[in-house]
């Protein structure tokens, strides 16, 4: 009795409040999205809104279960859990059921579960466990390798299930690692690589090569404040590239793209090394390395994009970047989704008044594209509010994580924040044309028990750990 009162007192009611607010809003939006005039009753279990209520009630029971478990349990068993998760993923890969092209489901009786949802949880706990040992340093190579494996193994297994969306979620653990001391430049490099990827497709390789050289020049100019020396970085390569193009033009040379891109650079870069040595500007070594790497990278992007990606993946990226506009084909979903959201205007059409989503213009309107209903019926005000609620939740999770004495709980907390963040980022981004169409659910909003439970467990383990924050000392 006493202990229970203690728990109630210790629970972070702000997080719990945000959780319930979002779950209820999510439920109402599912009601609106698939509203059926003949089944107006929101509790009607023949409809998705009735079913979602069942999932919600089940989620509440899960919360009770989580609170009844001793907090030390979560830090004691991540490794066996992780192992079990890996085995399950392998099992699914062999015996799983294919739904929407992903072999990522297992069926137990009438229930279908997607183990990938729980893989995130197991990975977050395991990561926390491993990185919370005393005197753990992330910049040790061995540690970095193990951490990469912890994240990488489930990611690769899920990728093999053809579930690209869930795979990408694992990339966000880099934010957790960053908090725990991963060098900042790795994150920056990640961003630069994404930028190069996008620009390579958007501008083409030749234009991007010019941009890379100009950036190198600007960078050197900024640091050396010497126009002459920084200018030299352009000249030899400029001549080499020009020479190559003239040769192609006049001699009718047939050079492969790779050779076109890299050969002039390799011909000219010894000059830079000599220059760097002579003038004793060490920065030039770095620049030379960066240019070399960038050129190889953009070439591989081009190669992978055109030769390895499947057509529909290519189409989705092309549509996202605006390279192609095909409103009937690959761009259909996003176009319809943006019409629905855009038609909501400032204050929306009102609850149950949306037409775009209900007309079935928007595909998957109760799962992946549920945010359309928010946008259409609640307008800018409503959708911004939902996003701010999510941001509030993310902040609160960080706050909870940071107030822990236990490093384990903190790392886990960041893991939770990162997973939530990625889902919101990609799901909402996709509906407003800022992210490629990747089928991952919006936490608490997308219809379905599997994802609701996974997010609930993820969040409430943190809340449970937080309750016992004074007891956890590792």
């Amino acid at each position: 009795m006493n202990r229970n009162q203690g728990i109630l007192h210790q629970i972070d009611w702000i997080t719990v409040g945000l959780y319930f607010l979002l779950v209820i809003l999510g439920w109402l939006n599912i009601y609106a999205a698939v509203f059926n005039e003949d089944h107006r009753y929101i509790f009607d279990v023949s409809q998705r809104y009735g079913m979602q209520l069942i999932w919600i009630v089940a989620a509440l029971m899960l919360i009770v279960v989580i609170f009844s478990i001793d907090s030390r349990f979560f830090s004691a068993f991540p490794y066996p859990m992780y192992l079990l998760m890996i085995l399950t993923l392998i099992f699914v890969l062999i015996f799983g059921r294919v739904v929407n092209g992903s072999k990522s489901w297992i069926e137990i009786g009438m229930f279908r579960l997607q183990p990938a949802e729980f893989a995130k949880l197991a990975t977050a706990l395991t990561l926390a466990k491993f990185a919370s040992v005393y005197n753990f340093k992330l910049n040790q190579f061995r540690n970095l390798l193990i951490v990469s494996a912890i994240i990488g193994i489930p990611a690769v297994l899920i990728l093999l299930q053809n579930d690209t969306g869930s795979t990408l979620v694992f990339a966000t653990f880099s934010l957790v690692l960053y908090r725990e001391g991963l060098p900042g430049w790795i994150l920056v490099m990640g961003v630069v690589l994404i930028l190069l990827f996008v620009l390579a497709l958007l501008l083409g390789l030749n234009a991007l090569t010019v941009i890379i050289f100009v950036s190198a020049w600007v960078y050197l100019l900024a640091h050396t404040r010497n126009l002459k020396i920084s200018g030299w970085i352009l000249l030899p390569s400029g001549i080499a590239y020009l020479g190559m193009y003239l040769a192609i033009w006049f001699l009718n040379l047939k050079l492969s793209l790779a050779v076109q891109l890299v050969a002039p650079w390799f011909l000219s870069f010894p000059i830079y090394l000599v220059m760097a040595y002579k003038n004793n500007i060490k920065r030039i070594y770095g620049v030379v390395a960066a240019i070399t790497f960038s050129l190889m990278f953009i070439f591989s992007v081009d190669y992978v994009f055109h030769n390895i990606l499947i057509k529909h993946q290519r189409d989705r990226i092309n549509n996202l970047l605006g390279i192609e506009f095909d409103p009937l084909g690959a761009g259909y979903n996003v176009n319809q989704s943006m019409i629905a959201i855009g038609s909501g205007g400032a204050v929306g059409k009102g609850f149950l008044q949306g037409t775009q989503t209900k007309y079935n213009f928007v595909p998957e309107q109760s799962t992946d594209f549920i945010f359309c209903t928010v946008g259409e019926e609640w307008g800018f005000v409503g959708s911004a509010l939902v996003l701010l609620l999510f941001l509030g939740l993310l902040f609160r999770i960080i706050f909870l994580a940071e107030r822990q004495k236990s490093k384990f709980t903190r790392i886990y907390g960041y893991g939770v924040a990162a997973i939530f963040f990625f889902h919101i980022l990609v799901n909402v981004g996709m509906t407003i044309g800022l992210a490629p169409v990747i089928g991952i659910p919006l936490p608490f909003f997308s219809y379905g028990g599997s994802s609701l439970w996974a997010f609930t467990i993820l969040l409430f383990i943190l809340v449970r750990l937080d309750v016992s924050r004074d007891q956890q000392l590792n």
Binding site: E37, D38, L175, Y178, R179, E180, G181, P327, L328, M338, I339, I341, G342, S343, G344, G345, A346, K349, T355, Q356, K358, Y359, F361, G375, G379, F380, S383, A384, L387, L388, F390, L391, L394, F395, I398, A401, E402, Q404, K405, K407, R410, Y414, A417, F421, I424, L425, V428, G429, I432, G433, L434, L473
Partner: protein, 609 residues
Amino acid sequence: MQLNDQYIDRKWVVGGIFAVFILIFIIRLFFIQVADNKYSMSADSNSQRHMIQYPARGLVYDRNGILLVHNQAAYDLMVIPRQVLPFDTLLLAELLDIDVKLIRDRIYKAKIYSRYKPSIFLKQISVSRYARFQEHMFKFPGFYIQSRTLRDYPRPMAAHLLGYVGEVNDDMVKKNPYYSSGDYIGISGIEKSYEEVLRGAKGNKIFLVDVHNRIKGEFMNGALDKQAVQGLDLTTTLDAELQEYGEKLMAFKSGSIVAIEPQTGEILALVSSPTYDPKMLVGRKRSKNYSILQKDELKPLFNRALTAQYPPGSIFKIVNGLIGLQEEVINLETHFECDKSLVGCHNHPPNNGIIKAIQYSCNPYFNQVYRRVVQQGTDKNRFVDSRYGVKRWVELCQSFGLGQTLPIDVPNLSSGSIPGLKYYDKKYGKNQWAFSTIASNAIGQGEVMIVPLQMANLAAIFANSGYYIVPHIVKKIGENPTSKDEYTQRRYTGIDHKWFVPVKEAMYAVVNEAGGTARLARNDSIVICGKTGTVQNPHGEDHSVFIAFAPRENPQIALVVYVENTGFGGTWAAPIASLIIEKYLHRVVSAKSVEEKEKRIIEYTPLKK
């Protein structure tokens, strides 16, 4: 206790990343929802309306380019319950000439189907009513007009052949993804068999509609629209004037006329009487009229020409004669007495061979021929022997297109029947039957059943001296002649070409020589060859049959006329056939023929009440 956490400040970076992305999203939302009206044109009530573009169904012409079937505009009033605002029900009832209760019912039904998808509120509103309604349409948000086309018949004829169009049923909607509820589909006749050609392909157009129910423009400049593809026109083999004339002659009689161009298998006329006006089965009145026609005891919906299986009567003697000649059980000079003890016969001069026997239609003669065909002496036991004979006889009959469904391009053709070993074994038991059991087949009175189309095809085979091309009704689809092998390749019978010479001689004699049974078919200007039949009918008066082709040299038309319950073949069927031939070959029927034949036939109206 957490000691010297050197990275504590990074929580601001992580938090900052979260905040920046959410902020970017909010800005983006601001642009698509508030600032940019590309997506939110007067956001409160604009909506898209998907309108199916129904293509016009292909037209149908006769062989000379006369229009037989075309389209008339009709308008369906559609409703989207979700968009309906309170309106003046009385005004709507008055404009559409329906009662208020019906309006309520229909809206209720539409709601049950879907609140958001359009359903048909009122079908096939006439042009004049549509014009009036359109002026008031702005008062009825949620309603709009969808234009459709209905069939129309400038010269109502050949109802059975042309068939009719109706709403697609649920089974078809499930089976074929092209159709959705409320679509039209060909249900019978060539509307059915050429459905895919005639229907074209539906299109889809998306409009933006304002709160006043007015179309404001194309959605995305029509980028998502799909153009409807018009159906292809059909040119049939039918001769409209001949068909009309045939229907006129057959008025108030029960029976059929099928006329074929022998060299091509093209059906020139296909009359089934009593018939009905194809206009009856168009539009809203279709289901009411359909049940009236269905209840009519004269069975006007029944296409006798393709589905009525009749005993062929004496015209079948020619087939048996040809088989006898081919099997060499008789020759041209073979003589059989007219022995009335075998089978009854009328009084005629003695025959001295097959030609005269056909001319006089001598029953005992063909009884003997058929005996020789069946009992060829292959086996000593006559029961076993008859099995060999009948097997061969069935084979040869089938080579005439009998006892099988010919692959014609109109649905629901019956096969008729040529009874074989299986049939008789089942009926009498194996080795329990022989010639005497089945002797009535000799004169076309037994179990042999033939539909009029097959009879006409027999006439074509005689005209062609031994081959036929599967009869068909469509010559050209769009601009392309039908190129199906079936409708271009000759099918040869198992009878040698030379045996048709005496048959033609006899058929000439039937019409043109003294003692012939079809003297009434004679025409001074055309050499007609034919054969009468009088089919005994246990249910009433005999059926009158006549098959013919003309002219004797290089025949242009082969036909059958089958008139039920009118007695002797020469009396009614023969003169009708003669008139049809004259009409087809000369385009006009001479005053003499009108006086001698047409008048009498038109005045004869056994079915008139």
